[in-house]
């Protein structure tokens, strides 16, 4: 005996457990009095039982249980990394600013009466910065005045023989 055509869809949904509660009551009342629909419902339940997914394995179950915790820790790690990047950037900017301040401020921040650093002693004179060098000739003249050989003027000279009074044609 065939199922009632207007109930076929409901029967299938009920067999799959997807029928609304309100309709379940009506359908169950109908099934009590309709043998054809009962047979079709039983056949659907049997068929769906064959199609059901196998039960989850222990490993799958463990992974499913682990999923929320893993998702949360991944989210936290991403947030920490972003926070660290921002901190690194902040630290680098701060370093650049500090270096700039250290280099620029002392030369700019000088009160009118304070622009004179302490005069050098003979020992302190050696620590003054280089720059704006006098030309080699002036330096050589200054060294010669002080009684020093002007080293800036000494090169790999070809005129050694002349300086030393050697005869350039002499053979050893």
């Amino acid at each position: 005996m065939a199922a009632c055509p207007d109930q076929e869809e409901r029967l299938d949904l009920h067999a799959a457990g997807a029928l609304e509660d309100v309709e379940v009551v009506t359908l169950v009342q109908h099934l009590e009095g309709c043998e054809g629909c009962r047979g079709a419902f039983t056949a659907s339940v049997e068929l769906l039982a064959l199609m059901a997914l196998p039960p989850t394995t222990a490993q799958e179950q463990a992974e499913l249980e682990e999923l929320p915790r893993r998702t949360l820790s991944e989210w936290r790690r991403a947030a920490r990394r972003q926070d660290l990047d921002l901190r690194t950037l902040g630290a680098l900017v701060a370093t650049a600013a500090a270096v700039t301040v250290v280099l620029l401020v002392p030369s700019m921040w000088r009160l009118p009466g304070q622009d004179a650093p302490p005069p050098p002693t003979s020992a302190a004179a050696t620590t003054a910065p280089l720059g704006e060098e006098p030309d080699a000739e002036t330096m050589a003249a200054f060294e010669a005045w002080a009684g020093l050989e002007p080293l800036d003027m000494i090169e790999d000279s070809d005129s050694w023989d002349d300086d030393l009074g050697f005869d350039s044609g002499e053979t050893l």
Binding site: A96, A128, P129, A146, L151, D163
Partner: protein, 155 residues
């Protein structure tokens, strides 16, 4: 993430750029020191040759002479630094550098002081070298040293 890495690199380079500039000054100073040291060695060798020639020294005596001259060069080195630094300060002051102008007197005095100590060293060098020489060669030594100084002043 790539943008972040690039930004970080750019900021790092910006932060390091002033340090590189600051680091180059000592490097330049080291190069200058090295150049002066080489010139000092060449000058010493020339002196050894000249004195060995005029005083008729043998190899062993020339080596002893070289060692003596080296000792005196080492004593002259800080005085040379003092003289050169004074020259730099005076040069800058002559161009109106306010920082250098405040150091003019100290720099000039420092140069005079170094000059006196260099003259004392020259005298001490003569006495050290003359000690082992007979009178005639002492005279030759004095004349040679004077001639070297005269040449130096004509440079």
């Amino acid at each position: 993430m790539k943008t972040m890495a690039r930004t970080r690199m750019a900021v790092l380079l910006l932060a390091l750029a002033p340090l590189v500039a600051v680091a180059s000054a000592p490097e330049r100073e080291a190069r200058l020191e090295e150049r002066l040291e080489q010139a000092e060695t060449r000058h010493r060798l020339r002196q050894v040759l000249e004195l060995s020639n005029v005083l008729g020294l043998d190899n062993a005596q020339a080596l002893t002479l070289e060692a003596t001259l080296r000792t005196f060069d080492e004593q002259r080195r800080p005085l040379r630094r003092q003289v050169r630094e004074s020259a730099r300060i005076l040069h800058r002051a002559s161009r109106g550098d306010s920082e250098a102008l405040a150091q003019v007197d100290a720099a000039a005095l420092s140069a005079f002081e170094a000059r006196e100590r260099i003259a004392a060293l020259d005298k001490e060098l003569y006495l050290t070298l003359a000690k082992a020489l007979p009178k005639e060669k002492r005279a030759t030594l004095a004349l040679t040293l004077a001639r070297t100084e005269g040449r130096r002043k004509k440079m």
